[in-house]
Symmetry: C2
Subunit: 357 residues, 2 copies
Amino acid sequence: MGRIKIGHKSGAATASASDANSTIKDVARLAGVSIKTVSRVINNEANVTEAMRKKVQDAIRRCDYVPNRSARSLAGRRSFLIGLFYERQNSSYITRIQAGVLAYCRQEGYELLIHPFGRGNESVLPEIEKVVHRSNLDGVILTPYFSEWVQLLDFLDGIKLPYARVTAVRDDLRSPFVSCDDFDAAFRMTKYLIALGHRRIGFIKGHPRHNSATERHAGYVAAMEAEGIAVSPDFVTQGDYSFVSGEAGGRALLDSGAGVTAIFASNDDMAAGALRMAHQRKLVIPDDISIVGFDDADIARKLWPALTTVRQPVRELAAQASALLISSLREDGQEQEKMQRLLPLEIIIRESAGRAP
Amino acid sequence: MGRIKIGHKSGAATASASDANSTIKDVARLAGVSIKTVSRVINNEANVTEAMRKKVQDAIRRCDYVPNRSARSLAGRRSFLIGLFYERQNSSYITRIQAGVLAYCRQEGYELLIHPFGRGNESVLPEIEKVVHRSNLDGVILTPYFSEWVQLLDFLDGIKLPYARVTAVRDDLRSPFVSCDDFDAAFRMTKYLIALGHRRIGFIKGHPRHNSATERHAGYVAAMEAEGIAVSPDFVTQGDYSFVSGEAGGRALLDSGAGVTAIFASNDDMAAGALRMAHQRKLVIPDDISIVGFDDADIARKLWPALTTVRQPVRELAAQASALLISSLREDGQEQEKMQRLLPLEIIIRESAGRAP
DNA sequence: CTGAAAGCGCTTACAG
DNA sequence: CTGAAAGCGCTTACAG
């Protein structure tokens, strides 16, 4: 039975929180209404007189009442829990994703359950299945590669669990997603390098499973061709978005004899690896060679020289995906708003690219 | 009513998960026992015959039964939810913390709720209070600065919510914690620089609220004094663990005229900032100046030159804190194991420190 | 060692 | 627009 505090509210730095355990019954009694009416007010349902609503809200405040999630979840068959499933990767990226999701979830009263998986996804599907059922997730946010993994999407569709994607795949309209035009940004970045006088431009591809890798590479190729520059096979090397693969790619490009004057890495971690290789060979950047990345991860500003790159609005992508997810959760039945969104990509010019030598 | 699947189990890549919604009653019926017995098996309680246990486990498997968290939580007054509250900071650090906590939580059947806060913690306490009550958290993991914020600890003690700390404060034994000897590691690192011939060693302090900052600085001072080197006031500058403050600190040290031949930054982000300033002044590292950090964050290997630093076992710190928390949650009443743990810190020698010029 | 009853704190579905 | 009853799927406390 929750005690009722009168007078000062339990504001900041008050340690008296232990009496916040009043229940819906306490509120109802205090307000002189039925628990059903309290429930209506909590859930913002229509059909409550303003007077009633006010009375109840007052009582809620006086009791320090906080609805119990488990009880709501059990009775209402929803958990107010959103799941975030992803493959372990760049911590800057995933931290921003989390921030974006949380920014939106919290204000809507949802909590976030995070579930990272290792790269070798042997048992991902059964594991996800278990979590979804045990925790009764209301919905899920997916980032690449998971957001592009058809079997996983099929599985979620199969159990009718709502989800929203952050993805570079824009032709699969089965469910809400937020995306950027990676092709176009890579195209523009390549054009930028060409405008700087570069023609022998090396490219380090991202992880082949990620659609962003395909798009970025295609943008590079298209820009080269648009300028009438042949893409020699030894201009392009395969990476996997990791720093180490950037080192390997940089080494290959630098030592191939292709004489590249610029390297476009498909993300910043790989650009950092290529940069390291260039430093190791005593090259001065950008005087001897230009190196650019993609993402605008935390590291981009911390390297020497700071990376010219493409800014991906990661936090915003996640926030919008959450907005789409939560809006699809409200079964208002109202006409759904458009369930796809495209966010802009911006080229950030810093210090690592300059005129061709 | 959950349907029962016979024959093949719903293994990987099977999309038939939707019938995993059987309840404890289904299991009881199938096994021919009471639901209480099923409950006993789920919760690993003693006093169940082997035969019973086997029968129930069989039925659980045949139903694809997964206990409903909300129901368990409501009836059992525990949520199987662990909260992770922290101030937004270096993403490499927090990602490792999450990984460590999750590694332990999952295998014990707990889920993780993450709650980052901005730096200006106006309303942190009320916010935490709300989450704790709404989600019925069983326990909390705290990292610096929160783990060293006495008002927060007092609050959690007040509401009797179990928590474990990752912290550099080792003299507050009120609750479980895992720690490292920052003083000693900073002492050894400074000794290492001195052994390399450096005497004019600059130091960039960390955020004053963090006890690690105090400890690391004290270790530096002690080592200098042990070698009979006076710590000139212009050897030391105040940072706050951010990259930008490292730039400012590096600039101050480089331009002060103190003629430092080495800079010891209290973490890797600040070392990266100082490194950037050195590069900007066309200094060759480590020939002209040595720069070392602390933490062994992701960035340490990605910089040029790669950072000599102190490896902090962040993931392990979090895993052990979770272990302490969960063990304190089991009210076995058995004699508690020791609730403090000290993990070793290791100096990682890479490329950014060399002999004094 | 096993089970029948009561109840956790809410929401659903139905009356009025 | 408001409310009394039933029930969500478990665990607790108590018998036997």
